[in-house]
């Protein structure tokens, strides 16, 4: 019976419709990264961690599709994407450099029901970000702040240099606030003078220092380039985290950073 019900639901599911998004504002985040604040009429709402598919169509009908995580929390009326420009990329340089306020493109979503967190999912929330992998994790921290959740949260964020830290001001503000998340950076290539924080790629020792022994209720989310995700997820499992409570998302080509 249960299965028939599920199949009935799947069979009857409406397609996730393509919608027209309009760029309201482009906010530079770092020299290579910008956030796209979008107005998407009919947007059905989303949960932190989900993504959208973007579809761009050229004059002659040629199309390209890519996935982008939603940076905005569930509470946001705007859909916000944060895109890193990859040299010679097809879609990301267009979104970051060429799109102007008022321009429109197609997207559909929200997509993904596993790499998601909301207040009801509990925690502690353990987040591990590599580079632009911080985007879906930021949506979780923004949601946590928006609902005033007291679920303990920690973000370990690996970036190449201070200039490449996305959302730096907001993270410092959230982290400095009452009940805010603990935010720990590791800067792998360039450090400001006098930097006393981590200065190396993520490893087991760092994960142990930042996250400590696993709480049975802890939920870990790891997002970044493939190598990074492998090391961080393996490291958490080695610390004793239940593999089924370590969720991962990888942004694509292993060549990324």
């Amino acid at each position: 019976m249960a299965r028939t019900a599920v199949l009935g639901r799947l069979g009857a599911a409406a397609p996730i419709a393509w919608r027209l998004a309009e760029l309201v504002e482009l906010v530079p985040e770092t020299p290579r990264v910008a956030s796209l604040l979008l107005s998407v009429p009919g947007w059905p709402g989303h949960t932190a961690g989900q993504h959208v598919d973007v579809r761009l169509t050229a004059q002659d009908g040629y199309q390209a599709q890519r996935s982008y995580s939603i940076a905005a929390p569930a509470e946001s009326e705007r859909v916000v994407l944060t895109v890193e420009r990859l040299e010679d990329g097809e879609v990301s340089p267009f979104l970051v450099d060429d799109l102007r306020a008022g321009d429109r493109f197609e997207l559909r979503g929200p997509i993904g029901g596993y790499f998601v967190w909301d207040e009801g999912s509990g925690g502690p929330l353990q987040l591990v970000a590599g580079g632009s992998g911080v985007v879906p994790l930021m949506a979780m921290l923004r949601h946590r702040a928006a609902v005033g959740s007291d679920v303990p949260a920690t973000l370990l964020y690996s970036a190449r240099s201070p200039e490449e830290v996305i959302y730096r001001e907001e993270l410092d503000r959230l982290g400095g606030g009452d009940g805010g998340p603990q935010v720990v950076y590791t800067l792998t290539r360039e450090r400001p003078s006098g930097w006393t924080g981590y200065d190396r790629r993520i490893d087991g020792e760092m994960l142990a220092e930042v996250f400590g022994r696993p709480d049975a209720d802890a939920m870990a989310f790891v997002c970044g380039p493939t190598r990074f995700v492998e090391v961080a997820a393996d490291g958490l499992v080695a610390l004793g985290y239940d593999p089924s409570r370590v969720r991962t998302e990888r942004f694509g080509p292993s060549g990324r950073s």
């Binding site: 996730i16 027209l20 493109f105 993904g112 958490l236």
Partner: protein, 202 residues
């Protein structure tokens, strides 16, 4: 039908020309990784592959050595990931699912593949028989990397690649189509890349 975005011209048009890249996909020479959780590392001594009935009864089982002793095939196929990349001419070595099912009598219409780490995915039986699917343990002449699903993964190249379950440990013969992991989370029950069946309702 689609909306033309001002100023977008596109740079990867070569992808169109081969006629081998399904709609909405782009060609990559890289080998990206997609998985929902940590990579399991089951020692080969503890590894086995099982064919089970719907009720869970074991119908056949191979240890790692036994699986490797079966006739193996080398196939070169194109693969298509729902996250949009396609990779052409990938070469795999594995045992055909036909070989594994030989001698098993069944009226099942579907299979559910299960994996270390709890992953499952559902497929029609006819999509894993007649030379359409393998339990692959080699990639590009090397043992399959754990992050790509080693020691062994299912290989069903004509469907989106989430159907090619990594770290596969068995197939369960099913009367009905029972949504697996991603199929319960919004991804299409069947997943034909040429019909762009990415999500529920596609």
């Amino acid at each position: 039908m689609s909306f033309v975005t001002r100023g977008f011209r596109g740079r990867r048009r070569e992808t169109d020309e081969s006629g081998r890249v399904p709609p909405g996909q782009y060609r990559t020479d890289d080998f990206p990784v997609l998985s929902a959780g940590p990579t399991p590392h089951t020692p080969l001594a503890e590894w086995s592959f099982t064919i089970a009935s719907e009720s869970g009864e074991e119908l056949a089982r191979w240890s790692w050595e036994e699986l490797r002793a079966l006739p193996s095939e080398t196939v070169t196929v194109d693969i298509h990931c729902v996250t949009k990349w396609s990779k052409l001419d990938t070469t795999w070595e594995g045992a055909s699912v036909d070989t594994l099912l030989a001698g098993i009598e069944t009226d099942a219409a579907y299979v559910t593949a299960w994996s270390d780490g709890g992953y499952t995915t559902n497929l029609p039986l006819e999509d894993v028989t007649d030379g359409k699917a393998w339990v692959a343990f080699g990639y590009d002449g090397e043992p399959l990397d754990p992050e790509h699903g080693g020691p062994a993964r299912l290989l069903v190249p004509h469907l989106y690649f989430w159907k090619s379950a990594k770290w596969v440990r068995g197939l369960r013969l099913m009367d009905d189509d029972d949504p697996g992991f991603w199929e319960s989370l919004g991804y299409h029950l069947y997943g034909d890349p040429w019909r762009e069946q990415r999500y529920w309702g596609d």
